[in-house]
Amino acid sequence: MEKIYDVIILGAGPAGLSAGLYAGRSRLSTLIIEKGVDGGQIAITNEIENYPGQVLEGETGPSLIARMTEQAKKFGAERISDTINSVELDGEIKKVVCSNGTYQGKTVIIATGAKHRNIGCENEEKFIGKGISFCATCDASFFEDFEVYVVGGGDAAVEEAMYLTKFARKVTVIHRRNELRAAKSIQEKAFKNPKMAFMWDSVVVKVDGDELLNKMYVKNVKTGEITTVEADPDDGLFGLFGFIGLLPNTELFEGKIDLDKGYVKTDDNLHTNVPGVFAAGDLRIKVLRQVVTAAADGAIAATEAEHYLAHKK
């Protein structure tokens, strides 16, 4: 087989690109593998107000990421589009098996991030993009003057629900508890909004429709009672948005590195339990999952990879 990289970085979000920049700048031969577009979750984020230095007018997630990509490239990091199918992390040389080829590296930085958690109801996959969405900024405008339901009770769910009231004629929050988890200030605004309604102690168990979503079954978790929600016949459809947290993208690493509830366990210097394998970003056990902490992780992981390589020589 061909080239053996010093560092292979899995994922091109803020953590992976930051690791790529640091590794490239340290003159390590660096490969970044990403299956989609760069940026991960911030690729679908319109506004980023809390990344230090992020004060440019009209800056979006993708425009910030485009600069991160350019910067990593400038320092020599190679970036390829491929889907990772499996990894072999033990031993001196790690292998990353992708759809278009197998790549070898002396170290691996796992930065595959996290994605939204599915609602978890029957028929869900069939209606994604057909009424079910996890991205309000992408899809809210389809529901102008229609009814929309939002699953969740945290800050994101309530804020996105209020954003959706700008489009929908009514937004109902379906929450599995009898009170919201969102910050009090957000709750106050939500309760005052005349377009907002709430279904407490409730979970969506099944969705249905004729191509587009127009029916769902909602279960009261206390009484077990099932309510059928149907679209207004004049509408013929409704929207269902899920905002119930994140799931780490770590299925590929199960049984290969130490995980806890899917999140990667690392020490303070971002080493996993496998020598030469590091983790950075949202997939790690940590208190704050933000662009700034992901970028910091990437820098630390790349620097530690460099130390690891120096000790091997």
């Binding site: 994604i128 993009g129 992408c138």
Partner: protein, 106 residues
């Protein structure tokens, strides 16, 4: 890439003979914006007399999009003789997945 609107979609896609690829996007859809340059590159690579590439801003053609059973973006769809025969929707619409789909039809 031919930019469509609600008045030209019918003629250019639904009444077209042969295959047409449509990039459905929308204002404020950041993931559409991120995918678009990749679709433009694919149009350069695979566009031909038998595979036409178009784009439709659904924010200005909401009813039309809903009529095509689209309620989530982005969608890259392949039409043949006016019928949608394949599509990559939302998160499944990665540059690699779109390219794999297009290869089947050129």
């Amino acid at each position: 890439m031919l930019e469509l609107d609600k008045t030209t979609f019918e003629k250019e896609v639904l009444q077209a003979t042969g295959k047409v690829v449509v990039d459905f996007y929308g204002n404020g859809c950041v993931s559409c914006e991120a995918l678009m340059p990749h679709v433009h590159a694919l149009a350069e690579k695979y566009g031909s007399d038998t595979l036409k590439f178009c784009a439709l801003n659904t924010s200005k053609a909401r009813r039309l999009a809903i009529g095509q059973k689209i309620l989530g973006l982005p969608v890259i769809a392949v039409y043949e003789n006016g019928v949608m025969i394949d599509s990559c929707v939302k998160e499944a619409a990665t540059p690699a997945a779109v390219e794999a789909m297009l290869k089947k039809y050129c």
